[in-house]
């Protein structure tokens, strides 16, 4: 289908060029007490550095997962890439084009068409007053991809079948479906505009285990069939193991370690990655006598100076408490990883 409007001048991604490139991405939120308090108590506005200098790239057809606990900024990264927030700093390039400063409306539309998003909460991600067929058809209509009503109906029916539902389900409302089925509808909606990049924000966290398996299998099948690229956000390392080619571990707005999935699980280098792997309860390898690492995730409004992980890190030294580490390449078992850790750089661990 020909695109409406003027096509961007830059050619589409050359072979080998990543579909998504993110460099030094940052997003700060000003957190302010109500102005009366500020006036009387002299409280200054604080900066919540939700994302503080994140860089990664995803080649076409692959899956990058961002893992971390709540508050680490991984969801914010997804929303920045989706265009729901404007970055405070840094660049986002989709298909080679600057997604933050699009040159004109046609380019902006072109960029928007490349991506879609799947959300965590199956209840809140579908409009309860819309019929399923309208929900799925909305991206088609918004981008003007198909004009005729019968053609839209046909595509919607095809999408429903593709995600494992029946065409007649289009007539129903979201509340008539279970959580897993609603996620399938979300996936169908995301696919209807034929995007190339799918941002998945904890898509199975709210689902039961057996339903999760169905959805993850579906997502893998779709990726293979349609050559989709995934940015997969999750806090569950086991799920990420199943889905990702490459993994980035985030902590308090920064990336601690990035590596290919096999490398990360075989030889984690960053102390936080090791903590995460240690503490996940795995039914097949239960640690019944564990003495876990003490300490809490610090307040993101008041991050520790230097390396964000230093209060909980058994290897922290003075340099860690003063200087923020940068991502540097390091050997990890048989492969390589990018690790932001002084101890790793200094060869101490």
């Amino acid at each position: 289908m020909p695109e409406a409007g003027r096509l961007p001048e830059k050619p589409a991604a050359e072979a080998g060029r990543p579909l998504l490139e993110v460099e030094n991405l940052a997003r700060y939120f000003r957190v302010m007490a109500p102005w009366v308090e500020r006036l009387l108590g002299g409280k200054r506005p604080k900066m919540l550095k939700a994302v503080d200098g994140v860089s990664f790239a995803i080649p076409t057809g692959r899956t990058l997962a961002i893992v971390g606990e709540s508050g680490c900024g991984k969801s914010t990264v997804a929303r920045l890439v989706a265009g729901l927030y404007r970055p405070t700093d840094g660049t986002i390039r989709i298909d080679g084009l600057d997604a933050v400063h699009a040159k004109n409306a046609a380019e902006r539309r072109h960029i928007r068409r490349q991506l879609q998003m799947i959300f965590q909460d199956p209840m809140a991600s579908l409009n309860p007053r819309w019929r399923v067929r309208d929900i799925i058809a909305e991206p088609i209509r918004a981008f003007g991809l198909v004009k005729s009503r019968t053609e839209i109906e046909r595509q919607v029916a095809e999408l429903l079948t593709h995600v494992g539902l029946a065409p007649i389900d289009g007539e129903k409302f979201p509340h008539e479906f279970s959580g897993g089925q609603r996620q399938r509808i979300s996936i169908a909606r995301a696919l209807s505009s034929r995007p190339r990049l799918l941002l998945c924000d904890e898509p199975t966290s709210a689902l039961d285990v057996s339903v999760q398996a169905q959805i993850l299998n579906l997502m893998r099948d779709l990726q293979r069939e349609m050559g989709l690229t995934y940015l997969f956000i999750s806090h569950n390392l086991a799920v990420v193991r199943h889905m990702a080619d490459r993994i980035a571990v985030m902590y308090l707005g920064r990336i601690a370690e990035t590596a290919e999935a096999d490398t990360l699980f075989a030889a984690p280098r960053h102390p936080y990655t090791r903590l995460l792997l240690e503490t996940i309860p795995d039914p097949l390898k239960p640690k019944r006598d564990r003495e876990p690492l003490a300490g809490e995730v610090p307040n993101p409004l008041d991050p520790p100076p230097g390396c964000a992980f230093n209060p909980r890190c058994p290897f922290a030294n003075d340099r860690c408490r003063a200087e923020r580490p940068e991502l540097k390449r390091a050997r990890a078992g048989k492969g390589w990883a990018e690790v932001a850790c002084h101890a790793v750089e200094e060869g101490r661990i």
Partner: protein
């Protein structure tokens, strides 16, 4: 064809819905529903079923004036020589009759007919002012809730100021201004609009606040984010996505406020700043009858009073039921 099946489906859904079941499970609500329904219907059909057209001077006759209701046996009757309670002379005229089942007023108007027409007018004013309040309230609530920030703060302050001015004051002020500007005859013609406008203006805030609250909740939901990602405009999101989700509570409020609007109009008419005597609503009737209350022709005030009370009570009960039925927590 498509319309018929859609209607059929809607009917089927209504039949099976929780709403209908909850309606039928409460006797009070059913009675209220029936009574209000009858009053609606009767007042709507007034031109056809009223025994007399009370606004047509030709159909009136002063000799019919002050007749008591049909069940009253001892009415006061204007006999030659003054008011007297008689058992004997003038007793024939003292009895009520089926010709005027609820009696007549001082002009010889049949009270039943007047009540029918008056209810009609009250309902028209009620619905119209609610409609105005809804449009204004929903529109401003949507804007306020979705935009947030300075616009929201400003609109909410306007709403606060609005709340300090009661409907009666607005109506008095507006009425006074209009009377000063236009001729009396013109004023009578547009009195209806003035009233509707005043009452609507006094009621929009509740709608706006409720809608704003709902909007602020809905706008954080992921389906709104999904729409923004594909580039749907803010207006599109507000109208097509968020608005349908805020209408539930609005429906409940409008039912309850209908009663408020009707009472307010009655009050205004009673005070003389409402509808003119040529278009009497229930409030006007009550006012007119007020003068005769203590001289014994009680029915001229009491009959429309009862009609008004029953209407308000019925609408209130329906509103209560609706609020409870639509409350997901009570289900």
């Amino acid at each position: 064809m498509a319309a018929r099946t859609a209607l059929g489906r809607l009917f089927g859904r209504v039949r099976q819905s929780d709403l209908l079941w909850s309606f039928r499970s409460s006797k009070t609500t059913m009675v209220a529903g029936v009574v209000v329904g009858v009053m609606f219907l009767a007042s709507f059909l007034a031109p056809w079923i009223a025994p007399q057209d009370p606004y047509d001077p030709a159909s009136l006759s002063l000799s019919d004036a002050m007749k008591p209701p049909v069940f009253s046996d001892r009415g006061f009757w204007l006999c030659p020589g003054g008011y007297e309670l008689r058992e004997g002379a003038c007793a024939e005229e003292a009895k009520g009759s089926w010709q005027f089942p609820l009696g007549t007023d001082d002009q010889g108007r049949d009270l039943l007919s007047t009540i029918l027409y008056g209810t009609r007018l009250s309902l028209v004013v009620g619905f119209a002012s609610i409609a105005l309040a809804m449009v204004l309230g929903i529109g401003l609530g949507l804007l306020s809730g979705y935009a947030g920030g300075a616009l929201d703060a400003f609109l909410m302050r306007v709403a606060d100021v609005q709340l300090t001015i009661p409907a009666i004051l607005i109506a008095l002020t507006l009425d006074g201004i209009v009377r000063g500007i236009v001729s009396t005859q013109r004023h009578e013609e547009i009195a209806l609009f003035v009233i509707v406008f005043s009452i609507g203006l006094s009621l929009w805030v509740q709608f706006a606040r409720t809608v704003r609250g709902s909007v602020m909740v809905e706008r954080t939901k992921d389906y709104v984010a999904a729409a923004r990602i594909i580039g749907v405009s803010s207006g599109g999101i507000m109208l097509r996505h968020i608005l349908p989700n805020t209408l539930g509570p609005v429906f409940v409020i409008s039912t309850i406020n209908l009663a408020v609007a009707i009472i307010t109009e009655a009050t205004l008419s009673f005070l003389g700043v409402g509808l003119p005597p040529t278009q009497p609503s229930l409030g006007t009737l009550i006012r007119v009858g007020n003068d005769y209350l203590f001289s014994g022709e009680w029915w001229i005030t009491v009959m429309p009073g009862i009609a008004l009370a029953v209407l308000i009570l019925g609408v209130n009960l329906l509103g209560d039921w609706l609020r409870d039925a639509l409350n997901p927590k009570l289900r």
